[in-house]
């Protein structure tokens, strides 16, 4: 119990009559790597936003490092140790690549010089070191995705939550990011990854949680989960299940 990091306890989110997330429970220990998958519109990103506080829950609780954070704002949760990326990269376009990472690094160092060093290290980690001085608005899609990761890493989070960081990237770029995720995990970081691409989920291994119509329909290791008839049905329809 002591190393329990994140407890999502039966969270539900309703938008008017639509239930986007329905009583989802998820437990993560320190050092876990969990992939969250599900068809389009299943409620993955909504669940993500409930965990990071961008949305408030209708029901249920989120506990982090033993504290109830259900009512906390996203910025408070970030300071507690949530690092996240956005599905549509939210790049600070008028600032340089380094300055983007810097705003995250300030959380660790008040001093600009030290924060900049930290930011630079995070950029090197995601392979953006050479682009440090470029205005971030000029970066390519893949670079922006990596910059999102660098900015979140600069915070020094306890858990890193990646929302479809590989969507729209070419296979080489996807491989790069898989390498990066594995390296971060090997370094002891806890990760929750939303992924669409089942190949990637297999490559990452570890625990998988499947969501459909806002409810958790399966959880376990990739092989078992991906051969689960309910999961196949959710992805491909009843005929194939």
């Amino acid at each position: 119990m002591a190393d329990m990091l994140l407890n999502v306890e039966g969270v539900t989110k309703r938008f008017g009559g639509l239930t986007a997330v329905n009583g989802v429970t998820l437990e993560m220990r320190k050092g876990d790597l969990v992939s969250l998958i599900g068809p389009n519109g299943a409620g993955k990103t909504t669940l993500f936003n409930l965990i990071t506080g961008q949305l408030t829950v209708t029901q249920g609780r989120v506990r982090f490092k033993g504290q109830d954070v259900t009512a906390r704002s996203p910025e408070e949760r970030a300071r507690l140790g949530f690092g996240r990326t956005f599905q549509i990269a939210k790049t600070l376009t008028s600032m340089t690549t380094l300055e983007n990472a810097l705003v995250g690094a300030y959380h660790r160092h008040h001093d600009t010089r030290k924060a900049a060093e930290r930011a630079m290290n995070c950029l090197e980690q995601v392979g953006l070191g050479r682009r440090a001085g470029v205005r971030a608005g000029l970066l390519t899609l893949s670079e922006r995705r990596r910059l999102e990761i660098a900015r979140a890493l600069a915070l020094g989070p306890d858990i890193l939550m990646l929302d479809e960081v590989m969507a729209g990237l070419n296979p080489t770029e996807v491989d790069d990011i898989i390498h990066l995720i594995r390296a971060l995990h090997a370094g002891g970081l806890t990760l929750l990854v939303i992924e669409h691409n089942l190949k990637v989920v297999r490559a990452l291994g570890h625990r998988v949680m499947v969501v459909d119509f806002g409810t958790r329909i399966a959880e376990g290791d990739p092989e078992t989960v991906l051969s689960d008839p309910r999961v196949i049905e959710a992805y491909l329809g009843k005929k194939y299940a």
Partner: protein, 349 residues
């Protein structure tokens, strides 16, 4: 292969990272040096024209508005909050100086309560207004400015109402009253330099980067633990305090203030924004460059065109503003920076 390459890159960076200044980061020291160099050049230019009282008046206004637009730029440019209520902070400065002068307090000391009052007022008023975003925030601040103009006319005890207030001509450095306009030009240059140095410091500090992050993407800013409202309020308070300091200097220059002089939307409130817009909003030197271009142009146009067709200088100014808004979105300084970047990239590629 690829992995090995990135590994060497990162170990290399870690090894020398401590000494190498991080790329893509302009330090405060280099910006401050630029500010001081520019000030020296402007000082020399001011000395050249010291005999001409008419020119010195224009120069004094130019430097004053350079400082004011730079102060506005802290929240309006770096923070992206298009405040149209900065005339109120300016007026708080002006009226504080006037009232305290009557009580025998000299304007140098009056700077302190003037700045504190403006900062306090800014925080109280902005708190609810910061719930509005973008142009809606701008409209709300415009309403505040209009309201304060009406109130300034009404509260005669503090403002002298529509008849205004004046202070007697008692020349002396301690009274901030000079017979020679050249001295006012120096005073205003000093003000502009101090505001620019503060803006340069903010721009290259945690507060400045947080303001820019809030301007670019609020959700991203929150996701790295930035409290949006706190950052905006801090920027607004600082900007308001510096604007109030300009109001004190302005009041002592004119030695007469009335509500339209201090609170006019078109002559004061919008002008800070216009100068910053033409020079380059969100850049450090944009407001200074904007003031150097616009204020003398305006005086000249008024002198030559107002006699021919009354009000035509405003048409020319308005026209140039529209052109800037359409074709120079990042102002003159933004254009220059873009051209420099393009050249740099061309020489690299």
């Amino acid at each position: 292969m690829k992995k090995a390459e990135t590994m060497t890159v990162s170990t290399f960076a870690a090894a020398k990272g401590r000494h190498a200044p991080a790329r893509g980061l302009v330090t405060f020291r280099s910006s401050a040096l630029q500010v001081i160099l520019l000030s020296v050049v402007l000082l020399a230019a001011t000395f050249l024209g010291r005999e001409h009282s008419y020119v010195m008046n224009i120069v004094a206004y130019t430097f004053l508005f350079a400082g004011l637009a730079t102060a506005w730029n802290i929240i309006g440019g770096f923070g992206g909050q298009f405040s149209l209520m900065h005339a109120v902070f300016f007026a708080i400065g002006g009226y504080t100086a006037m009232n305290l002068f009557k009580l025998g307090v000299n304007p140098w000391i009056a700077l302190v309560p003037a700045m504190a009052l403006a900062a306090g007022f800014a925080v109280i008023v902005s708190w609810p207004l910061f719930r509005l975003r973008g142009k809606f925030f701008g409209i709300a601040t415009l309403a505040v400015a209009e309201m304060m103009l009406v109130l300034a006319n009404y509260f005669k005890g503090l403002t002298g109402g529509s008849q205004g207030m004046s202070v007697p001509l008692k020349p002396g450095l301690q009274n901030m009253i000079f017979l020679d306009r050249f001295h006012y030009a120096l005073l205003m240059l000093g003000y502009a330099t101090v505001v620019l140095l503060i803006a340069a410091y903010v721009y290259r500090s945690r507060l400045g980067y947080f303001l820019q992050a809030v301007r670019d993407e609020q959700d991203a800013a929150r996701s790295v633990g930035i409290s949006i409202t706190k950052v905006k309020l801090t920027g607004m308070a600082l900007s308001a305090a510096l604007t109030a300091a300009g109001g004190v200097l302005f009041a002592m220059y004119l030695r007469f203030v009335d509500p339209p002089t201090l609170l006019s939307i078109t002559d004061i409130g919008v002008r800070f924004l216009l100068i910053a817009l033409i020079g380059g909003i969100g850049t450090l030197f944009g407001p200074l460059i904007g003031a150097l271009l616009i204020v003398p142009l305006e005086f000249t146009l008024r002198a030559y065109l107002a006699d021919v067709v009354p009000g035509s200088h405003l048409i020319v100014l308005g026209g140039s503003l529209i052109l800037c808004a359409l074709f120079l979105k990042r102002g003159v300084v933004g254009l220059a920076l873009d051209l420099m970047n393009r050249r740099k990239e061309a020489s690299h590629g």
